[in-house]
Subunit: 252 residues, 8 copies
């Protein structure tokens, strides 16, 4: 598309419809037209074209006003609006200024579908959690995957201290095209699942735990050092990132 756009500009230059200085500016500034930028944000409307999903608003550290402004800009284009880590009051405010926003309080997300549904991903993404306390991260992943056009299955509370629990769900695991493993504390579930399935495994360490879990560092290191080859890892508590990584696979 960007390549197409450049081609168009070149054709118009070849046709004499555009002079050189104007073409120069068109090429230099093409990706960011006026109107796409607020005072504090430069919205990347072309991301959907490059990557298959539009810009997502990371709600932490943004005021409710900023979130609403950016979301309105995106919604006006007809794109999906997805906000993660949104505070309850910002979510309320967003619902009051924009119709059709669905808020998930556990996931801390707000979602409003765009004009065109996301293309469907191949197969199912399994979301596996070690314990009940990992649910908010799992919910964030599930909401994101749904927004990206993916089907999900859930395998909950199958930590390795009762190894039969995860073995009992082996069928569901092997049926998935991608597996997201979410675990805090020792993070050992990623290694076990990584050894059970042949499909891609994305591990999400969570900040669940105390003391020397150091806010998820222990689980992060466990997962990076997984003795099951080919397990990849995203940031602590980053259910959103794991979902996008999975969706990159199911849409490729």
């Amino acid at each position: 598309m960007t390549r197409q756009r450049v081609r168009d500009v070149l054709h118009r230059v070849a046709d004499g419809a555009l002079d050189v200085p104007a073409a120069l500016d068109a090429l230099a500034f093409a990706p960011l037209e006026s109107g796409d930028s607020t005072d504090f944000a430069t919205i990347d409307h072309h991301r959907a074209l490059r990557q298959g999903f539009p810009e997502v608003i990371y709600g932490a550290g943004k005021s409710a006003e900023q979130i609403c402004d950016i979301a309105t800009h995106i919604a006006d284009r007809g794109d999906n609006v997805l906000v993660t880590r949104i505070a309850p009051d910002a979510a309320d405010r967003l619902q009051s200024v924009l119709d059709g926003v669905v808020v998930n309080r556990v996931a801390r997300t707000a979602f409003r579908p765009g004009n065109t549904p996301a293309p469907r991903g191949n197969g199912t993404v399994a979301i596996v959690t070690a314990g009940t306390s990992d649910l908010p991260v799992a919910e964030e992943a599930a909401v994101t995957l749904s927004a990206l056009g993916d089907c999900t299955s859930r395998i909950t509370d199958v930590g390795v201290a009762g190894i039969h629990r995860v073995l009992a769900r082996r069928g569901d695991l092997t049926a998935a095209s991608v597996v997201i493993v979410i675990a805090g504390m020792d993070g050992a579930l990623a290694s076990v699942v990584g050894g059970l399935v042949a499909s891609p495994v994305i591990a999400v360490p969570t900040s669940v735990g105390y003391g020397s879990s150091f806010e998820g560092l222990a689980a992060l290191l466990t997962m990076l050092n997984s003795c099951a080859a080919g397990v990849t890892v995203v940031n602590i508590d980053n259910g959103f990132g794991a979902a996008v990584a999975a969706s990159r696979i199911t849409h490729s």
Copy 2:
């Protein structure tokens, strides 16, 4: 027992009482029957059979609703209910939905005995603390040990800066079958106690201290590097884990 269960299934197959597909499923899914699972938790009722103690609910990061639901499932089976790191309001709510729950505010625990008392452990577990600020961890250990069927003795506030304090209690220390040493700051008490007794010593670093104690890291490293051979260590502030480790010894 699990072995017995498999043997039973095999006998029923040999007898023609069970056909092969049903046997296959019985073997695969045996440990987790329907009904044992809530929407967000897969309860491990067989843990008591494998390990001598039932599943314990780690209260941190769970809502009061989730705790009450899981606790009710376990109580309905007649098992012990033990919740650790329970918030005051969740404890209140649990007491309102379930009879006979005893809450220890210092230990942050809620306990409700099951139908069958836990088998008694051998001997006494001594719980030794370096300072008054270590009490919540000591209480968590004491409540857990009591739930697991162990007798405890308490040796309180015997930090090594006044070495005669711990030496004066040497008799109580050597009388114990297992010693749990709980200390923050420099964590040095574990080494001294480890050198005084021949019995197993389990060290619990606490997050008591400031500055370069780094929330218990200093005490943790001290204990892992104890010059008294054979001292073992659990996570920072993990009175529950130390109690279970001690109970594994007294019940073996």
Copy 3:
């Protein structure tokens, strides 16, 4: 397959061809038959069945003798032999005891193809490096991918300090079905590539750098915190792990 094996055992029990105690043992010990184990290693011959690739020998910390023994066991079965992080003298020795071993000194690998070629993966895996010093990790990934049946393309020395270098290769990047980004120092290349392509991106931090790179920690943290959504990360210098992760995707 394992499921099939259990079914076979059950049928033989139903037919009376196998008594219960023998069946019990068969089920319990099925995955690890005698003969598959050396004195110091329990070889996992079934891994290929579970995961599409056989067990790989991690050479670091193993003696030349141990490597040769395990490799011979695997080769005798007709499986692929892949050794990573092999020391030069161990590689020489392996070549002397086993025919057809190909050693890559830069990658620190030894490879000997098995009787059956690996199934081909879908598409091409692009291996992108930020600098010349990242080559050993890239080579390890390339050798591993080749052993797993994958085609690779190489995009070399395109660090972000000269951003036009990576932009110039955008065509090659978007043509790949999976992109492995290998970078030390600031590790920033992963974020730039992650923003350029829609396909899965696997980032490998390397220990290239000095001072506060802390042996790759800086690049690792950069990649885990990538502002390009959906980038996943493997351990520092882990070219092998990235290759297996990519191959899980191309074979799914």
Copy 4:
């Protein structure tokens, strides 16, 4: 100036206008005359003479009373008053006791111009941010630069995940005499900008991010390890420090 002051003292001794003991004291205590010191602060009025900017009040950890007292001392001299990291209530109080104080709530600064405007710096300082959440740090830098006599330009929300955003602003970047790059999460923007411009680049890591960003440590390490040569770094979230560093350059 200090050199001049010593010369004056020496001339007065040579002239007999000052005896030796008085001269001795004058030389020893010259920089800190009585009256410049409050009970809890020793104000460095000579800093403007040494360094081109007067002492700035770091508001964190100081009570509103302390801030007001120090600010009044400085204002009475006719110097610029600049307070950073000022709490809202301290800012209100300062405005109530001192006329002409301008408070910037996003930047957490209070500023009151002195009798003499700051000398103008050469050229423009570009302040570049990766995301909306980096704004408070950018504002602190902008307020400080304005107080120091510098012109600023703003390039906002041009994180490297959409690399065209920063490339589109290349003209503004190369037009600046100094570039301040402010980024959290992966901090990769500093390397890209450092490769695009020949002018001095000062990188400010921010504590924006979560999990393994470790409160800005990830971005800090990224920037210290920038593969673009000659990028320098200030402390996490230290917009003030970056501004002073830039102003040292534009005033040299």
Copy 5:
């Protein structure tokens, strides 16, 4: 015993056989008689009385001369001599000065039995390793346990990436009175084993791994955060410490 010694002194005072100053010194210096001290070491001959095992010589950082001197002192008393982390040349030298020393090159130990065999411990200590590279630590544990009078069983190379390997050895695991789990990389084996058995589990992280294993830190944190309750941990690579901890249990 020490109590008996004090009683003896008191009786001799009561009998007038000892005057008060001599008694005072006897009580103060009793534990360390002259002759037990070399120039650089104060040997603790009473440890066996207090703790059931004599002082062990930690070889790292000691010269061959120092090791031989201390060992000779201990051997002259008829006690067990056990040296850990002994360098090859120091081991050779020790064998040349003392008869009957058995050196284990993998374990880096030297052992010479004393006049009286160690009292036998109860049951068997299982030593479980995740990979071949963990063998030196396992050997150190095995040599130490043998010196302390314990029987051992070995379960080798059963890392969790092939979970059936450890499940296949469940019988051996449950038969042990204490289980020592030795693992590097992700250290996840400790959690799985901790969930399978009811007996005491002592986890030993090893420095096996690379990159973000940080010389065993990853495995250490995994084990401290084990989701299997009651797993205790010793220092990285500390096979000796795990063995002493196990022996404290089997002898209690």
Copy 6:
């Protein structure tokens, strides 16, 4: 004194006034008589005899009730009561239950003099601070030194960024018998002062600063690595510890 006590017991045994079993108990339990212990604290009344200062109550992590109980026990003996890190409400409560308690809100201390004033220390202890934000730590040190019988002088706000400020106070520095240097941020003041004076220098890092000060870690490391030889360091924010260290010197 303890030596004297043992001598007394021995004389009474020699005189027949005490039989052996009673003497044995007297010796073993001498340091901790009944009555000195509350339910949760074992008070070390003998500390003053051993060390010249009585036990001090560390208020953090103790309830107001616990503090009041321990303080009352100590006060009843006529000893000094010093509480550090006391919360405002606990301080209020302590004042309501015990007469003559002086509370310092900046220092977070409560002090009540005992029957006998502390012996005076030699000379003056200079307390030097780098910035206004270091005052609470300086106050804690000052209150403690006063309780221990030491005279103090104050040198305030002389950070090294204006090196003339500390040079101007060189006379006061060299007049002190011990110098306590309190600094956050870069902690560099300790090195400069350490090079200016020949007397003992005790450095206290403070948690003042932000970002990569990591709550005082930066200043702590600076001080431990001081290029001025012979500077010693105490824990972050530990004004109390620095005061006791200084008092050990002035009373020796």
Copy 7:
């Protein structure tokens, strides 16, 4: 220049001298013409145009062969060849294949001037070191600055433990247009110098020191937390980076 190149392409399209597909490719691939790339390196010849200095070869982790190949490519263009962190044998080899290479063994650099001397920077860059052990880093900075066209002055061994040493050189410090401060251990010199001069100060922490200097981490943190405002920092031991940063200032 790049802008000019695009303008040329556009004019040729407007003139019909270039068709659209060829123009498209010309624009996309302009920055990296064929011939500039070796098998393992993509040389950035345009860097001099963008940034005023050509690509520098970082010698660590590159073989002598790789260094010689890249250097020859650069020299063939007539550009400056500068290699940093070059091993002695690689330096020898480079001298044997390329005329006019000057090797500095302390700085670990090799330099060969290009056809055109570098443009001169404004003023003098002062290189200040705290101790003799910091010399290799200072030499690397000096060689780099000379290659970049800058004059340097040296102020050596003026650590803050003898504060008069640096004060005595205040004249030289204030005469410089940029000051590079190189210090290990406590790194405090940067703060003192930062407070003495108004010009830009670039701090280089060195890995000189032991124990808790943690290979330069202590000095790095000190410098990042400098209480002298506007001090910027580069990576540990990065004399090259500091030199480029200084040269960016003197050439702006």
Copy 8:
């Protein structure tokens, strides 16, 4: 003395014996006369006047030539020459160029007394070590103390795992005017000694240990968090620094 020097200059100005410019220079450059500086070192001959001990040469990172040059300069003045962390070959070379140099291979020191013996310190400094492996640090402290004019006593191998060993030496401990405690691993000895004596206690963590001792970090943190109040700490393995700190006390 410096004060005296300034007074002299002022008197000569008052007398007309010195004109103002010459006086100005005399005052500015007084502390560092020409001739005191080599090419790479600025020797601080006045340190003895300020601090009671002359400059000490830190041998690590300096070449044998540099050490010999600096040592010769100092010796020519008649001052003590003390080199620490000197490599064996540098020590040999120093002995060949300078008469009367005494080398201690364990301490890694070289010492040559100056013309005037150091003034004697008050009392005795006790050097206490936890284990034999701590000897090199203890030797470095002992050599330094001797050079500074202090008497030392030695208490060796009294680690807290055998607490009676240190209690048995209580008399020697209380007899010392300063106690240096040297310990690696858990570093707990400092807390016990700190609780036994009233005199100043200086703790030196050593890098003895393995695994999570992290090269002495564990012992360092233990000592900084000592529950015995008033223990101060120096850098890891810094026997020299502890000796200077002790000597500051004994000479004050």
